[in-house]
Amino acid sequence: MKHPFDDFLPPSYHTQREDQRVMKMGFVLVAIVSIATAAAFASSLNGWRGLLQNRESVSTRWEDAETRVIAFVRAQKEMKDSVEESAVIEQYIANTPRSLILWEVTQSLPSDSVLHDIRLETRMRVENEDEKVITELLTLLGMASSDASVSAYIDSLSASGRFHNIALMYSQQERDTSKRNFSIQLEVRQQITLAMEEIH
C-alpha cells in the first residue's frame, strides 16, 4: 500500500515538467542574450553617431586649419620679404640721430671738463652671407681737471645706455698744469635691429 506522502503522480508527468522547465530556461537565456546583444548594438550605434558628428566637426576644423596654415606660411613669407626690404633701407639711415649723440656727449661732460674734438666715423663691414654690419665709432678728445673727472665722464657715458665698448685711450698731464688731456673711444649702440627667424 502506498503511503499518503508518496508521489502519486506518474513518472511521465515529472519528465514532461522537467522538459518544460528546461525549455523555459532556454527561452529566458536566449531572450537575455538577445536583449543584451541588441542593447550593445544600440549603445554602439549611439556612440557611433556621436563619433561621426565629432569626426565631421574635427574634419571641418582640420580643413580650415590646413587653409590657415597655407595662409600663415604665405604671411610669413610676406613678412620676411618686408623685413628684408626695410633692412635694405635701414642700413642707409642713422640708427641714432647725430644730434642725440652730441646731446649725450655734452650733457654727460663734468662741469670742470671741456671737449676739444668730437669725431664720429661710420664703419661698414660685410660678414657671412653679405650681411652688412655697421659700427659707429666716436672719439672724444678733451681736457679735465683730474683723472677722477675723466672717470666720472666715462661712468656717465656708460650710464646713458646709448654707448658701449667705452675705452679710455689716454689721460696725460697737460704741460706744467694739473689738468689732464684725455681721449675716449666708444661705439654708438645700434638701437634698431631687425631679426627674422628662418622659415623651415
Partner: protein
C-alpha cells in the same frame, strides 16, 4: 557569438579607429586658436612694416637732387649763424637698388649753431645719413665742423 564575430566586433573596431583619429586630430588642433591669433598678429605687423617701408620710399628721390638739398642746408646754416666754408660733392656710387651721393660740408660757428644745423639735416624730408662728423673747438665757443652726409636716391628712378 556569431553576431558578435560578424557584426559587433568589426563595428567596435571601426568605432575605436574613428575615436583614435578624432583624438589625434584634436591634439594636433590644440594650438589652433593660438596659431590663429599669431596669424592675425603677423598680418597686422606685416601691414605696419609695409606701410613704414612705403613711407620711407617716398622720402627717397629718384635723382640725387643735390642742388635742392644744398640750398636748404645753406639757408639753414646761415639762419643758424654759421659760416659755410665749403660744400663739396664727391662721386656718387650705386649700391644695388639705391645710389649714394656723399656731400662734404664744412662750417664755422658756435657749437649751438652746429647743433641746430644737425637737427635741421635730420628733420629734412629725405633720407640722409651723417656718415662722418668732426667737430673741433677753435676758441671759446667757436668750432669748426665737418660733416660727410650721404644723400640717398633710388637707382633707376624707383620713387
Amino acid at each position: 557569438m556569431s553576431a558578435w564575430a560578424v557584426a559587433y566586433n568589426p563595428m567596435n573596431n571601426a568605432i575605436h579607429e574613428v575615436a583614435d583619429e578624432i583624438r589625434n586630430r584634436t591634439t594636433l588642433l590644440e594650438h589652433y586658436e593660438e596659431v590663429n591669433a599669431q596669424y592675425r598678429e603677423l598680418r597686422a605687423l606685416t601691414k605696419m612694416l609695409e606701410s613704414a617701408t612705403a613711407e620711407a620710399r617716398t622720402r627717397i628721390p629718384s635723382q640725387p637732387d643735390a642742388e635742392q638739398w644744398l640750398e636748404s642746408t645753406s639757408v639753414a646754416a646761415r639762419d643758424a649763424g654759421l659760416l659755410v666754408r665749403s660744400v663739396t660733392t664727391s662721386g656718387q656710387r650705386i649700391e644695388g637698388e639705391f645710389g649714394i651721393l656723399p656731400v662734404d660740408v664744412n662750417v664755422f660757428g658756435t657749437f649751438e649753431s652746429v647743433y641746430i644745423l644737425l637737427q635741421h639735416l635730420e628733420k629734412m624730408d629725405r633720407i640722409t645719413r651723417v656718415d662722418r662728423m668732426n667737430i673741433h673747438k677753435v676758441k671759446d665757443d667757436l668750432v669748426e665742423a665737418r660733416f660727410i652726409v650721404h644723400l640717398l636716391f633710388a637707382n633707376g628712378g624707383g620713387s
